[in-house]
Symmetry: C2
Subunit: 344 residues, 2 copies
Amino acid sequence: MRPPTLLDLAKELNLSTSTISRALTRPGVVRPATRERILAAIEKIGFSPNGVARSLRKRETKTIGIIVPDITNWFFGVIVRAISGAVGPHAYMMVVFDANEDPEAEAKALQSLRERQVSGIIRCPVGGENKSWEAAIASGTPVIELDRCSGLRNVDTVLIDDDQAGRIAAECLIALGHRRIGTIAGPQHLSNARGRLRGFLKALSKASITLAPELIEYGDFRESSGYIGAERLMSLRARPTAIFIANSEMTGGAIAAIRELKIRIPKDLSLIGFDDARWARYLDPPLTTISHPTPELGRCAAELLLDRLTKVKSHRKSRVIKFEPELIVRGSTAPLRITKQSRR
Amino acid sequence: MRPPTLLDLAKELNLSTSTISRALTRPGVVRPATRERILAAIEKIGFSPNGVARSLRKRETKTIGIIVPDITNWFFGVIVRAISGAVGPHAYMMVVFDANEDPEAEAKALQSLRERQVSGIIRCPVGGENKSWEAAIASGTPVIELDRCSGLRNVDTVLIDDDQAGRIAAECLIALGHRRIGTIAGPQHLSNARGRLRGFLKALSKASITLAPELIEYGDFRESSGYIGAERLMSLRARPTAIFIANSEMTGGAIAAIRELKIRIPKDLSLIGFDDARWARYLDPPLTTISHPTPELGRCAAELLLDRLTKVKSHRKSRVIKFEPELIVRGSTAPLRITKQSRR
DNA sequence: TTGTAGGCGTTATCAC
DNA sequence: GTGATAACGCCTACAA
């Protein structure tokens, strides 16, 4: 029942535990013959070293913690998979927390991760206190922030150039002749949501377009808020002729609402979404969207972390890596049609 | 740098480590006054117990392992989230492996999980050897299988009634008048793929419809195989007028292919998908699909595991829980139109 | 090349 | 109610 330990093996073989331990960790140091004998016995009785004991002794768990806001969101699924693929070969395992966009849940996750002595943490901040994070970093746990930045110091950060993303979206719609443009922005306590909105507004104002405040809806990055946002935008007296939506979940919700309202895309409304989720291409018309190399983001975060884990802990300056977004033009955007409504 | 330990606290307070430990784990047993003092000190120096040491001593890691075939698949995202939500309140954490539908990767994941002494494992089998799983179970690690079953003994299993699912899909299409019906089945080494196909074929044959072999395409549950499968089905001399597809990823691929071929749904082709992924409702027409209570599946698996973890290890008989699928009729299915092609 | 001894930080079992 | 002591299973000086 209780799995065999080094001591069991040692008795079996009339050797000391140290020799067996060495045979496993530094093969060169033990005589080939004994090594063979040990390996055979291990095979026979099915021994595998107790990782918990090893972690305690070496003060190193070979575990990295990941906190994402919503694992059912395609974006974070891809991120987790990419991180997993990047750290696996280095024998790290991954403990995952789904914070459900809730700062309290994220705080609890951090606490668990610290108690479990994880080697490092990759987080996509959902907001909330920075204090316990500062403590974690001060105590030597490297932290990488991904997709969003909390303002914490001494963390490496992997971001999308969100200002750029917002700008590209706006410029595309402007070029198509749209002037009354709406947006469903993300929650403004998150840096990525702020960036996307900021870039978007900046580009509009550069084109001398001023946005009526009611053309900005603030969602929470969840599907339902996209649905509500779209409903409200489309029930405006002066409806927008184009909308930019700041993430994929809200885009989905908006599409559902727009379908129910029998508004035709792109004839009545042009739409630019965010994140090139797989289903963007299944839509009819397929979705024009702001895309970014999602798996690269995850891989990059993993590599930054591995780097901090491997290298001697010199006080490296913290790095910020930004990935450039790209507009993928598909069928949901079209030149402005002049109608009674849109001319006003 | 090195986090404070019980011993540090003990010196600080002129107490023994035992007392402090007790104050944390069985508050009732220590004098309120000393307890206060301890709590204050803990607060002050920011102590948190070392979970690794605790795990070693208690031989219990409070960690559960989860192996899924593809975390970017909506279905498994929802499963992971549901499990996380169910075990979190019991202070378990979750280590996640993405096996990428690869039996070797799954085997490695199992090995890591065992070395890390996880308390239990929830797996969605991807095929491959059962032997190391038997060893794991024999050594006392409870295992739950989810969505697929490998034939392993002494595991609890949570499934969808796949035969039923296939049957419902077929019956729906038959009732709509379709006779030349195709399917994109999953890989037949997986029990769920087999069940879905079996139920489907059975219902057809019950209606005296025999399926030409070329109307069955075998995919691998990934998007691209759905794309290819649909392409092949639709390039058949005698095209099917309806298709049933055995999971959501392949359904997406198929839809992309069908769009490119300019085949109209449901006018030219009726489609029934599987898994009611969020995007099924975004499509135009929205997707008719076989749905099931996905989060319930995850929660159920978690509860079965918690049950085995909590209860004394009596030799409980292993349980199989099947959830009933449900047909959600939306716009991608329609009565058969009599055309030259479909009459032949 | 191998064995001995000590410790990683916690909890359980005894005494007191 | 509190303290001393001995594990939990492994790794690593150091000694042989």
